[in-house]
């Protein structure tokens, strides 16, 4: 019997020595502790000591004391985790468990327990938490949607942003392949599935840009990249991936493409128009100098429309401003003209034509009519409606004592008024030559700009 007991004691002793944990005992109140074997985690400490003061880090002392007192009062095992000061002075983490030992009166005689150093585990945990936090913050700030697809079970993890990209509230559905596929635009679905299958088979990264259709009909473009992970038999087990919303980028690219095409169209069209204007300006002039002056005057008027449009952000031009500027350019004095009319916003196209018309009329008037003499002009306009559309009617009326020449041929300005206004603005233009001067009436519907840039030319 005694031999058996000694044998058992020996075995227990060996076990205590072999363990990597610290074996300790404490007084009944749990205030004093003594290392009795195992790994001397606390260093070379002899006899009983106030372990809470001595080894527990200051920040954890109150909580540890409270937990110990509670266990002593309830006579239940103690189980705590806390920071401790290692023999080398560094802070580590301990997981400790102690059980009360009772006498025959059920009074606690001592506590017996063991402590495990869990510093590495705590550090790993902290790194994991830290890493997860970094990932979460980075993916939220970067608006990256993440997924982790367990190929074997079919379970999928989505980050909050991923839910949003798919048009769900975070956590609204349990993600799976079908839930994902349902949101992929029908036209892109087969291709997306094929690309995933190919990536799964080849081991290459999955790279895809496709449309996601939200329940409200909104189309979101996403750029997704993913990678399959395989087990040792080469079977796909997981797929991890990330995606970003590229709707805005694509919109900007489209817009840029459109702008370039539009600009190209405009420049080419403008050259075509200049060439035609040059040709149409030619027949009325016998002298090259005169022809060049006229042509340059017309091109400058066209240029003025462009600069007016660049200044006006709303892409419409105020009629009054246009008329006044054109008169200013031709140095028409205030006392020689009367300008009056309500506020009218012209489309860039209409602005171009009206500018050119005023230019032609002013040039002509300076040369042959009221502005070159003691006469004066009235430029008035009104707004009205015709066929349910808003129209503007503009009248240019000259009053001069005598007109210098009788103009019979249909010149550039007259063609502009009588032919171009109906042709391009679907309006009407009348040109009449009276003894006292020219009377011109322009009428056309007011419409919005049809194109994305200024004039359509």
């Amino acid at each position: 019997m005694e031999l058996a007991l000694r044998h058992s004691e020996n075995r227990l002793h060996s076990l205590i020595e072999a363990t990597s944990d610290l074996i300790f005992r404490m007084n009944p109140e749990g205030t004093l502790m003594e290392q009795v074997g195992g790994n001397d985690l606390l260093g070379d400490v002899e006899g009983e000591s106030d372990w809470i003061e001595g080894f527990v880090v200051a920040a954890d002392r109150a909580a540890v004391r409270e937990a110990v007192d509670a266990a002593v009062a309830a006579r239940t095992p103690i189980e705590i985790e806390h920071g401790y000061v290692r023999p080398d002075g560094k802070v580590g983490w301990l997981y400790s468990r102690a059980v009360p030992v009772f006498d025959e009166n059920r009074t606690i005689t001592e506590w017996f327990g063991m402590s495990t150093d869990i510093t590495n585990r705590r550090l790993t945990e902290r790194q994991l938490v830290h890493g997860a936090q970094m990932l979460r913050v980075a993916s939220e700030i970067g608006k990256v949607g993440l997924w982790d697809w367990n190929v074997e079970t079919g379970e999928i993890y989505w980050s909050d942003e991923h839910y949003r990209m798919e048009g769900y509230e975070p956590g609204e559905v349990v993600p799976n392949f079908d839930v994902w596929a349902e949101r992929v635009h029908p036209d892109d679905r087969a291709d997306a599935e094929a690309k995933i299958a190919k990536a799964m088979e080849s081991g290459e990264d999955y790279v895809n840009e496709y449309r996601v259709r939200h329940p409200d009909g909104e189309i979101v473009w996403v750029s997704a990249r993913g990678r399959f992970l395989y087990d040792e038999r080469g079977q796909p087990v997981r797929m991890l991936g990330a995606m970003i919303d590229t709707t805005q980028r694509r919109r900007e690219e489209e817009w840029q493409k459109l702008l370039v095409a539009e600009l190209q169209h405009r420049v080419r069209n403008l050259i075509g128009m200049v060439r035609s204007v040059a040709r149409l300006s030619a027949p009325s002039h016998r002298h090259v100098d005169e022809y060049v002056d006229h042509l340059i005057g017309r091109l400058q008027a066209m240029g003025r429309t462009q600069s007016t449009l660049t200044r006006s952000p709303g892409r419409s031009v105020d009629l009054s401003e246009l008329v006044r500027e054109e008169l200013l350019v031709h140095a028409v004095q205030d006392d020689k003209c009367h300008v009056d009319g309500p506020e009218v916003a012209l489309s860039p196209h209409a602005a171009e034509i009206v500018t050119l018309a005023i230019h032609e009329l002013a040039t002509n008037s300076i040369k042959y009519g009221a502005l070159g003499d003691t006469g004066h002009i009235r430029i008035v306009w009104t707004r009205g409606r015709k066929d349910g559309k808003p129209w503007v009617s503009l009248r240019w009326q000259e009053t001069a004592p005598v007109r210098k020449t009788k103009q019979t041929r249909k010149g550039f300005g007259r063609k502009l008024i009588e032919e171009r206004v109906p042709y391009e603005l679907q309006g009407e233009g009348r040109f009449a030559l009276h003894d006292t001067g020219v009377l011109v009436e322009l009428e056309f519907p007011l419409s919005d700009a049809g194109s994305i840039l200024d004039t359509r030319s």
């Binding site: 095409a261 190209q264 169209h265 405009r266 420049v267 080419r268 069209n269 050259i271 075509g272 128009m273 060439r275 035609s276 204007v277 040709r279 149409l280 196209h349 032919e419 171009r420 042709y423 391009e424 679907q426 419409s447 049809g450 194109s451 359509r456 030319s457």
Partner: protein
């Protein structure tokens, strides 16, 4: 008269710019073409056809208020030849019209006349 390149050829011009339209008409008439209509808006094709046959249509793609592809498709449906005359690149053409005859603006008169003559060869 008959030795001119486009003699007797009946042509429609769809072009929203008055100057270019007038210029184009002038050039084609110089070559003996009969310009059936010059318009800035998509015309009623059947009304035009009621006045006589159309040998070829010159089409500006951008008419200011929109693109003219539907009209081109209508012409295609009636087997009436057409040429796009435009400042846009050929890449702007939709797939179903991708192979259409195409002249980039600014195109000089000689090129326009040459292409129309080629397209209407044997038709007149």
């Amino acid at each position: 008269m008959t030795d001119r390149t486009l003699s007797g050829c009946r042509i429609v011009i769809l072009e929203d710019d008055y100057y270019q339209a007038s210029d184009c008409r002038f050039i084609l008439e110089q070559e003996g073409a009969h310009v059936v209509a010059v318009t800035s808006r998509i015309p009623d094709l059947s009304a035009l056809l009621a006045q006589g046959r159309i040998d070829v249509v010159l089409i500006d793609i951008n008419l200011g208020y929109g693109l003219s592809f539907d009209f081109a498709r209508e012409l295609k449906g009636q087997a009436i030849p057409f040429v796009f005359l435009t400042g846009y690149d050929a890449a702007m053409l939709p797939d179903d019209l991708a192979g259409s005859a195409y002249l980039s603006k600014p195109a000089d008169g000689t090129r326009i006349v040459a292409m129309l003559a080629e397209m209407t060869k044997g038709a007149v």
